[in-house]
Amino acid sequence: MSQREENLGQYMARRGISRRTFLKFCTVMGSTMALSPAQAAEMAETMAKATRQSVIWLSFQECTGCTESITRSHNPTLESLIFDFISLDYHHTLQAAAGDAAEHAREEAMKKHKGKYVVVVDGSIPMGENAHYSTIAGITNEQMLRDTAKDCFAIVTVGTCAAFGGIPAARPNPTGAVAVSDIIKDKPIINVSGCPPMPQVMTGTLSHILTFGAIPELDHLGRPIAFFGETIHDRCYRRPFYEKGQFAKSFDDEGARKGWCLYEVGCKGPTTYNACANLKWNGADTFPVQSGHGCLGCSEPNFWDQAGGFYAPLSVGDWGSHEVLAGAVVAGAAVGAAAAVAGRSKQKSAHEEKKS
């Protein structure tokens, strides 16, 4: 049933997708990723020449929350992504084939797109003497990851488990679970953390790779700076209440109902780098803090084992002084729409400080 492969431009022309529609898509993606209009146009040109990017999605010690999350992506939608832009050649939750037929689909994609396919991983991996804690087709996850990664172009980890070990690696780590980067050392790895990651952050990162054929700029934890350059606190709509010292003292007091800062009931927004506060969740114009629960810090390594748990207020030592943060907010306001760029340099310098 398989015919020759064609590039995206031909495919979309045949599908009657106009250049205008295509450019619009690229512009939306570009703005999600804080690209300039020139870069968005370049993205459109490059994409038109590409065949649909082969993607092999491996699921290991996971809960399928990351897959569920990507099905909620509004722009691009999952159906647009898998019909128009990528070829999702192996994905347990969605693929029609089962058993050996599924494994063959993976092997065929690896052979056909050698050196070019992208591997997406959700879930942590029990390694070495612990490898038997998770098997697929009788093979350990560790083996499947090593085999599949060997000829890939890059690896995108989705979710905090694949990126940093996540919940299986939480104390006392009963199965010896590790992150992808603990096993694979010779391939570019992009960490799209979060529990689960935001849908737009997953699709945006994939779009960047398939547009430019290159890895987006990453922070010191391997996360795309376009999405992880700022903290939740940097962009939180409740930030003014923090500045004024107006805090909810419990989950249903006057402050809680008026939307005051949740710092005192344990919000981890100040130490958590992610895009929830500006992109918002599920097209519903909200995110955890807006709905009334503090940020859990789910895109940060070891958030499951943070001191005091989810409801203890952060100590000031964890996230710098009040003055520094107040300064950052002024700088952020000044650069306006380009705030993502500010976040980028801010985090970079934080990283450099750490190194020095």
């Binding site: 049933m1 909620r72 898998i82 999702l88 939750t93 063959h104 083996q143 689960p196 599920n282 009334g292």
Partner: protein, 585 residues
């Protein structure tokens, strides 16, 4: 001759599951073994932590039925501490649970189960005009024009012609088990895409109330969703939080959208597709026993009379008798590890009530084969799932159990709805004890639950009007107010069935935590008496494989349970003689 077939991974499910089964000379499955092949040890990870944090950990057991473990967890702590929650919090939880049912069931039907019945490639041969006539003959759904189906067909055709089939690659297309005419296949493919778009919108309900989906937030003692309706607010105003006068209306329209999709698409599609597969009413019965813990209280968990789903056990298909169920009774609920990769300090054949439950992993010592392996050692441990039993009986949980229970309890809307469906399909109530019955029950209960949701919203709005904004009870938030020792059980009816979390609290920390989940009841391995669990029993009921290399029959029955684990299936020789490995394609 007898054969061994290996299907690993079984796809279009949540998680990692492996099943081994044996065929006789005629190609019928004579025994089947179900095995979960992945473990994380979340119960062990929970020990020593703050019970108020437990929901977030427990919730990560599953990201598909994403809220159920969060709810069961906060309820376990509330039960242990006798911690009352405000009615608004209960209603918010009900709305979130209801939305989860409808969302999860629709996605299961279209995105996980449909490809067992729907041949995507056959849709290319459909006449869009006839497809439109078919669609309009079964429903008022708006997207039913010939042009609409033509567009969908074009989309699929182009995908096939591009040479990159992606998720549709290597399916069993053209298998004679596919019975739908091309037009019905095209209609179902169109609704596969519609359902993807629809589900994105309706999860907004979870985002408004829980901040995000998957993994919305919960809170011991209530709901983390303060209501900002206070007109006198000087700062923050009437939209200080996500739950306000605007979003109450958003929730209303989401409920309408859910009801509409269920009534106009999901129910008619299920009945239309089932009409072509009536032989599946005659196979796939499980253990003949069904259990419901109960859920969706209008008032509170301490008032079971206000539950929509009421508890009980049905034994041996007898709908005239309902046994009471008590989750705290050590004689009623026990978990066994005779065929699991765990050790119990009391020996491998003893059963433990979850309060005394143990989670000691022992793969190699309990018969786990060294990977890479071809075959499980079914005489010893062969799964990471335990085998839970009610009074020693293997019982099925989930939509079929709940619909049968409502039916047996004389719930009028259920009797009417089931009566309508069975009449249309010309089938007796006994037809429900089957693979197709299980799938149909899921559809029927989606309608029953969707139709309850507006009522809960109306009660909440009435409370707000009367000045009751309370969503959280602060009284016992501080662990200093807790007794030195406490234990409790939090239960709920998850979309996949009866779920319970058992917690033991000592000095403000978790001393023991055990989750007994629906897919453990359904997918667990054999018990010490070698009695099969529901998956295994269902596969052993009248399943012959047309082609062991394309075991679509196994997928249909396994998917009818909506598994929440990743899995694999073997078919092995019952006599233990050398078997021929058949490649499954």
């Amino acid at each position: 001759m007898a054969e061994r077939v290996v299907v690993d991974p079984i796809t279009r499910i949540e998680g990692h599951l492996r099943i081994e089964a044996a065929t006789d000379d005629a190609g019928n499955i004579s025994s089947a073994y179900s095995s979960g092949t992945m473990v994380r040890g979340i119960e062990t990870i929970l020990k020593g932590r703050d019970p108020r944090d437990a929901w977030a950990f427990a919730q990560r057991i599953c990201g598909v039925c994403t809220l159920v473990h969060g709810i069961a967890s906060v309820r376990s702590v509330e039960d242990a501490l006798n911690y009352k929650i405000p009615q608004n919090a209960q209603l918010i939880r009900n709305l979130m649970i209801g939305a989860q049912y409808v969302h999860d069931h629709v996605m299961h039907f279209y995105h996980l189960h449909a490809l067992d019945w729907v041949d995507v490639v056959s849709a290319l041969d459909a006449d869009p005009k006839k497809t439109s006539e078919l669609a309009q003959s079964i429903s008022d759904y708006a997207r039913s024009s010939p042009g609409y189906f033509k567009d969908v067909q074009k989309r699929v055709k182009e995908l096939v012609e591009s040479g990159q089939l992606g998720i549709f690659a290597n399916g069993y297309w053209g298998h004679p088990a596919y019975k739908l005419p091309p037009e019905a296949n095209l209609m179902a493919v169109a609704h596969y895409l519609d359902a993807l778009a629809w589900q994105r919108d309706v999860v907004k309900l979870h985002a408004i109330l829980g901040g995000k989906n998957p993994h919305p937030n919960f809170l011991v003692g209530g709901a983390p969703s303060p209501i900002s309706i206070d007109a006198g607010a000087t700062t923050g105003g009437a939209a200080g939080t996500a739950l306000n006068v605007v979003t109450l209306n958003t929730i209303r329209s989401i409920i309408q959208s859910m009801q509409q999709f269920v009534d106009q698409v999901y129910v008619p599609d299920t009945l239309a597709i089932a009409g072509f597969y009536k032989d599946w009413f005659a196979r796939g019965e499980g253990t003949r026993n069904f259990m419901v813990f109960g859920d969706l209280p209008e008032k509170g968990m301490d008032d079971p009379d206000s539950f929509f789903f009421k508890p009980g056990v049905i034994l041996d298909r007898d709908l005239s008798r309902i046994e009471p169920v008590d989750l705290n009774d050590p004689e009623q609920i026990k978990e066994f590890v005779s065929h699991s990769w765990y050790d119990y300090s009391t020996g491998k054949d003893a059963g433990l009530h979850p309060y005394d439950g143990e989670t000691e992993l022992n793969y190699s010592g309990r018969g786990g084969p060294a990977p890479p392996y071809k075959q499980l050692n079914v005489d010893d441990g062969y799964s990471w799932l335990k085998s839970p039993r009610w009074r020693g009986q293997a019982v099925e949980v989930g939509p079929l159990a709940r619909v049968l229970m409502l039916y047996a309890q004389g719930h009028e809307p259920t009797r009417e709805l089931a009566g309508m469906a069975l009449k249309k399909l010309d089938a007796p109530i006994e037809a429900m004890f089957s693979t197709l019955g299980r799938t149909a029950a899921r559809t029927l209960e989606s309608k029953l639950v969707a139709d309850q949701m507006m009522n809960w919203l109306d009660i909440m709005v009435a409370n707000i009007k009367a000045g009751d904004l309370k969503v959280h009870n602060e009284e016992m938030w501080d662990p200093k107010t807790w007794p030195k020792e406490a234990r409790g059980v939090g239960y709920m009816e998850a979309p996949r069935g009866a779920l319970s979390h058992y917690i033991v609290i000592k000095d403000g920390k978790i001393d023991n935590y055990q989750a007994v989940v629906p897919s453990t009841w359904n997918a667990g391995p054999r018990d010490p008496e070698n009695v099969a669990g529901p998956y295994e029993a269902a596969l052993q009921d009248n399943h012959s494989l047309h082609d062991a290399a394309q075991p679509i029959e196994i997928l249909r029955t396994i998917h009818s349970f909506d598994p929440c684990i990743a899995c694999a299936v073997h078919v092995n020789d019952p006599d233990g003689e050398e078997v021929v490995k058949v490649k499954v394609r």
